[in-house]
């Protein structure tokens, strides 16, 4: 043992510089991995905070009547902070001009709400004025639409209020309820004084809780549900809001894990190829040791010690570098970072990264190391190659161990065993494909290269692909896997950014118009076009009620307590966003009725509500048919109309495909059947519908339109609203910017982190490519020098190399590119559940870059050999 350590140390002396070069790839890989881990953790915290501002608190409890003393006591006993809010719909009367009226949500708040995020007003600080009992804050759209100014008076019930300012941004609550009628804030005392707050079930009472750190809001909500079973409480938690943020956050974390995985594997590939070459050169040394009486195990142990040393040092330096990056980066990039990076070191992810790096590094080193066990002492007799050793029985064992480690790491990293399995499978496929390709290339180079028409250098370059001691397998594997992982990252980045931007930002509409009458639509279209905010999405809306399901009239169904859940239904209705009687929903989960669904009964509100349905020829890209068949046009003369029902509602109504529903379309019965179920991406800010009709049925019915536009700036939005209010006063407008700001903020951060991480990892990949080529050079160095000795010119040597590197570079890159495209498609389909983006220019650019890096590095690496006197090189390159 003593000897092994001593020998390992002594033997490494001469090659420390080279060992350092080898470890560079693992150092960068681990730096990237740990950096990503911490950056991801950072992002997670930032987003967490932002997400909390979607609700404004950790947990909100809503009821249709004031909370009793018992409940309030309970809330206060939870610990943390409590704020209350009362809101109801009422008429706002403008005293100015023609005395217009508008249905608004009147809100009174007390306590420190919002606990997260910010309530923004103009002028700033206007909120404090509410305390005088005579001031009101109006949502900005109201000021714009009705030309009201700060200081003007408005009337609410018996009270007169001075407009203290405009509400620009309100955390929480935005997504579901208040959307369809703008909000007006006054103080609780003033609300009492208006005399509007009369009966139970009329106002919405809400308690906001800010929990102490570490308290699980979801768990608390469940406890309260048990505790206050009789009360009709609704619970909103941050977790739920996060679910509403859709799959986006999940995607980000999946992507970050992918990047970490890729970073580590680039490092591993680099180390494995370097060690492979290193060990080949050590064969002679091992043979001599064997002659002098060392056992196979001793030789193996010597280099294993070196490998472990390499891994330990590499991981430690890599982890240190990862930490350094986190410290330096925010300072250097302060002006570019779209968010503040808290300086904290995620020790857990650091330790995880370093440990994973060490294990993977050692395992990958083990593979080339195994040959050491089989080195015959005979090699010392002739410097030629020993007889080809039989397969080492340990080789499959090491392969299994590597696979297990890769799989374990992938699962740990992604948190899903399927995804981990997929990653591992893809890596194995790439490995097999490239290995097979290498064999094929060697074989073809031997078999098919013609002598005649080719010049000596080309022949020599091609022959290099198959001659003994060739590096075809090594370079194809390392270059191929390297480019595969890198290009994959570039592609996945595009795919996921497209998906996020599709849902999140850019072209999303942020201003909507409702109650547009049939004959007003062309005019609206023109007005909006003239103001520079053309309509991007619009939909006709026809209101209707359900008359019967499967032949059973609604009135009859409602009598049946075993089938219909009436009590919770009332509460549900409050939550379902009936404020403006709109069926088009914005935000809010399709899960709203989970408790009713759990009870196995139909929530009554789904039967009694007014449905605002639309008709279309084809389904939207935000929708997916989950069962049945979409029919875009009703056949003339068919007695029943095929409709598509949103999946969540279908579950609530306990519908099956083919079930008959008779709708009451403003007095006219309409027989339909359920032709398909549809999932709807509710978080898209655009008109979405529970029930969709085909074209050719509802056109003659009385209908209104909803239209959405994208306003680039708040000023544009205000201008469009003012223009519409002036010419078509009956149309209501909703400014979604209030909600979108939060979303946009999150998405901008996420996009930045994705781009940054991908970039960092691609740099690692380039280092690995360069490293692979540099180590490959050692394999041919003697030969190159001998050719020089025999009189080859530098030009000829360069050309020989050029041929070899070009062939390998192109083959590796093309294979890597194809694998990357496949990987991206699989990831898009199975992990990110979106359509594949294939940015062809980026793909071609990265492939060209990979080939260029290969060839240029190859040539540069060779310059050193060609420039120095042969003797010096022969003596020194050991």
């Amino acid at each position: 043992m003593n000897f092994i350590l001593k020998m390992a140390w002594r033997d490494s002396r001469a090659s420390r510089r080279r060992l350092a070069l080898f470890s560079l790839s693992i150092v960068l890989g681990i730096a990237a991995l740990t950096g990503i881990g911490s950056m991801g953790e950072n992002l997670r915290r930032t987003v967490e905070l932002q997400t909390k501002s979607l609700l404004g608190s950790d947990l909100a409890v809503t009821a249709r009547k004031p909370f009793d003393e018992e409940a309030m006591k309970y809330f206060r006993g939870v610990g943390g902070e409590v704020a209350t809010e009362v809101a109801f719909a009422t008429q706002l009367n403008f005293t100015k001009g023609a005395g217009e009226r508008k249905l608004v949500q009147l809100v009174a708040m007390s306590g420190g709400f919002p606990f997260y995020g910010e309530l923004v007003t103009t002028p700033a600080g206007a909120l404090a004025q509410l305390a005088d009992g005579q001031s009101a804050l109006l949502e900005e759209t109201l000021l714009v639409q009705f030309g009201v100014q700060v200081g003007d008076e408005v009337r609410l019930g018996a009270g007169t209020f001075k407009v203290a300012g405009a509400l620009k941004k309100i955390p929480g609550d935005a997504a579901v309820i208040a959307l369809f009628s703008p909000r007006v804030f006054i103080s609780p005392a003033a609300m009492e004084a208006t005399g509007l707050l009369k009966k139970d079930g009329f106002a919405r009472h809400r308690v906001h809780l800010k929990l102490r750190p570490g308290v699980d809001g979801d768990a608390l909500a469940r406890t309260m549900k048990e505790r206050f079973q009789g009360a009709r409480f609704q619970f909103d938690t941050v977790e739920e809001r996060k679910r509403q943020l859709g799959t986006t956050l999940k995607d980000i974390y999946s992507f970050l894990s992918l990047v970490g995985f890729v970073a580590l594997f680039l490092g591993a590939v680099g180390v494995a190829s370097a060690v492979h070459v290193y060990i080949k050169q050590k064969v002679a040394t091992v043979a001599v040791l064997r002659c002098l009486g060392a056992s196979g195990r001793t030789g193996f142990a010597i280099y294993l010690v070196q490998g472990i040393g390499l891994g330990v040092v590499g991981s430690a330096v890599g982890a240190a570098l990862g930490v350094a990056v986190q410290f330096v980066l925010p300072v250097v990039m302060k002006d570019f970072l779209p968010f503040e990076v808290e300086l904290f070191i995620a020790w857990a992810s650091l330790a995880k990264g370093a440990a994973a790096g060490l294990v993977i590094c050692v395992l990958f080193t083990l593979l080339p190391l195994l040959t050491v066990r089989r080195v015959s002492p005979l090699v010392a007799l002739r410097s030629a190659l020993g007889e080809t050793a039989r397969l080492d029985p340990l080789t499959p064992v090491v392969y299994v161990a590597i696979t297990a480690a890769v799989l374990g790491f992938a699962i740990l990293q992604t948190g899903h065993w399927q995804t981990g399995l997929g990653f591992t499978g893809m890596m194995a496929l790439g490995f097999g494909l490239l290995g097979g390709l290498a064999k094929l290339v060697s074989w073809a180079a031997k078999k098919f290269v013609p002598r005649k028409p080719l010049t000596y250098v080309v022949r020599q370059g091609l022959a290099n692909l198959h001659r003994p001691n060739n590096r075809t397998v090594l370079l194809l594997l390392s270059l191929g896997l390297g480019t595969f992982l890198m290009i994959n990252l570039v592609l996945v980045r595009a795919t996921i950014l497209d998906k996020i931007m599709g849902v999140g930002a850019g072209a999303r509409p942020n201003l909507m118009f409702f109650d547009v009458q049939d004959d007003q639509y062309p005019q609206l279209e023109k007005i909006l076009k003239d103001t520079g905010t053309p309509i991007t999405v619009s939909a006709p809306i026809v209101t209707m009620k359900i008359a019967s399901i499967r032949g059973q009239p609604v009135a009859e169904l409602l009598q049946d307590e075993t089938k219909v859940l009436t009590r919770a239904g009332a509460a549900k209705e409050a939550k379902g966003g009936k404020g403006g009687g709109l069926a088009a929903r914005f935000g809010g989960g399709a899960n709203a009725s989970q408790p009713a669904r759990d009870s196995g009964r139909i929530p009554s509100w789904t039967l009694t509500r007014e449905y605002r349905s639309s008709y279309r020829g084809k389904i939207d890209e935000t929708e997916k048919i989950s069962a049945g068949q979409w029919i875009g046009r009703a056949k003339a003369g068919e007695p029943r109309v095929p409709v598509s029902v949103e999946e969540g509602l279908a579950k609530d109504l306990q519908l099956a495909l083919g079930d008959e529903i008779v709708f009451d379309v403003q007095g006219v019965p309409m027989r339909t059947y359920v032709a398909s179920f549809r999932t709807v991406e509710w978080q898209r800010m655009q008109p979405n519908f529970f029930v969709l009709f085909p074209e050719g049925v509802l056109e003659p019915a009385p209908k209104t339109f909803a239209a959405a536009v994208r306003a680039a700036t708040p000023a544009d939005a205000a201008r469009a609203q003012a223009a519409v209010a002036r010419e078509l006063p009956g149309i209501s407008a909703i400014d979604l910017a209030l909600i979108l700001q939060t979303f946009d903020g999150i998405f901008a951060k996420v996009a930045f982190v994705i781009t940054f991480m991908a970039g960092f990892t691609v740099v690692t990949g380039i280092v690995v490519l360069v490293g692979a080529i540099l180590t490959g050079r050692f394999q041919r160095i003697k030969e190159t020098v001998l050719l020089r000795t025999l009189g080859a010119t530098r030009r000829q040597l360069t050309q020989i190399q050029l041929v070899e590197y070009a062939v390998l570079g192109v083959l590796a890159t093309v294979t890597g590119g194809v694998l990357a495209i496949a990987g991206n498609a699989l990831l898009a389909h199975y992990v990110f559940k979106t359509s594949v983006s294939l940015p062809v220019p980026a793909l071609l650019a990265s492939m060209a870059a990979a080939v260029a890096v290969t060839v240029i590095t190859g040539l540069l690496a060779n310059r050193g050999v060609a420039d120095h006197p042969p003797l010096e090189v022969l003596r020194n390159e050991t």
């Binding site: 003593n2 000897f3 001593k6 020998m7 002594r10 033997d11 490494s12 002396r13 001469a14 090659s15 002679a284 040394t285 043979a287 001599v288 040791l289 064997r290 002659c291 002098l292 009486g293 060392a294 056992s295 196979g296 195990r297 001793t298 015959s376 002492p377 005979l378 010392a380 007799l381 002739r382 410097s383 003596r875 020194n876 050991t878």
Partner: protein, 229 residues
């Protein structure tokens, strides 16, 4: 010393399979027996199988058929690691192409055989040995910093280090000038005399061959003569 057989080779045959699929027999039915303390020179033209024979005798390779016994132990039946132990304990070897470990200094190269056996107290002896081969001042030099002849002398010192019972030398004086060669030969035969080390030399140098008690001539892998000098 004793009548005990130190190296016994019987009907040793080595056949290589060539790339074309044919067989190439480079040693055919070679037999000889060597008592402890004896010395033998193996001579023959280039390619006649000398190095191959030496390798087989030292247990560096497996014969296609026939047996090799070192100090009464048949090494043909041992596995590689067991043979390694025998080599470490009994055998010294000087290669035609020196085979120093390039990453170790001269001194460290010499120390390898004893350190392998777990003995790390022999540094003074190693320095003394290097001094005897005229390299006392070069202990800390790496092989690339030494000339071919100097490397060969380091290899010789290394072969002596484990006090082998039998020493195999493949062209030990091939790279040396007359004076240095004579000094090396003196060293080798001194060992033979003092410690009773059995010597097996491969050489082209007939003068050297005559110093051995016995000369075996090889030609085309067959023993053509085996005579006492």
């Amino acid at each position: 010393m004793s009548d005990q057989s130190m190296l016994k080779v019987e009907r040793l045959t080595k056949t290589y399979r060539t790339a074309a699929g044919g067989d190439l027999t480079v040693l055919r039915e070679v037999s000889f027996d060597l008592r402890a303390g004896a010395s033998v020179a193996i001579v023959g033209p280039s390619g006649s199988g000398k190095t191959t024979l030496l390798g087989l005798c030292a247990g560096l390779d497996r014969p296609s058929s026939g047996t090799v016994e070192i100090a009464g132990e048949s090494i043909g039946e041992m596995n590689e690691d067991a043979r390694a132990l025998v080599r470490n304990a009994q055998v010294g070897f000087v290669f035609q192409n020196f085979q120093l470990i390039p990453t170790l200094t001269a001194l460290e190269n010499v120390l390898v055989p004893v350190e392998l056996a777990g003995d790390s107290t022999r540094e003074p002896e190693a320095r003394e040995l290097l001094g005897r081969v005229g390299l006392g001042a070069r202990c800390d030099h790496y092989p690339v910093q030494l000339s071919g002849g100097e490397q060969q002398r380091v290899a010789l010192a290394r072969a002596f280090m484990n006090r082998p019972k039998i020493l195999f030398c493949d062209e030990p004086t091939g790279n040396l000038d007359g004076d240095t060669a004579a000094a090396m030969v003196e060293l080798i035969f001194g060992l033979n005399r003092e410690k009773g080390t059995t010597l097996v030399l491969v050489t082209h140098d007939l003068e050297l061959a005559k110093k051995c008690g016995r000369i075996i001539r090889l030609k085309g892998g067959v023993v053509v003569s085996d005579e006492v000098a």
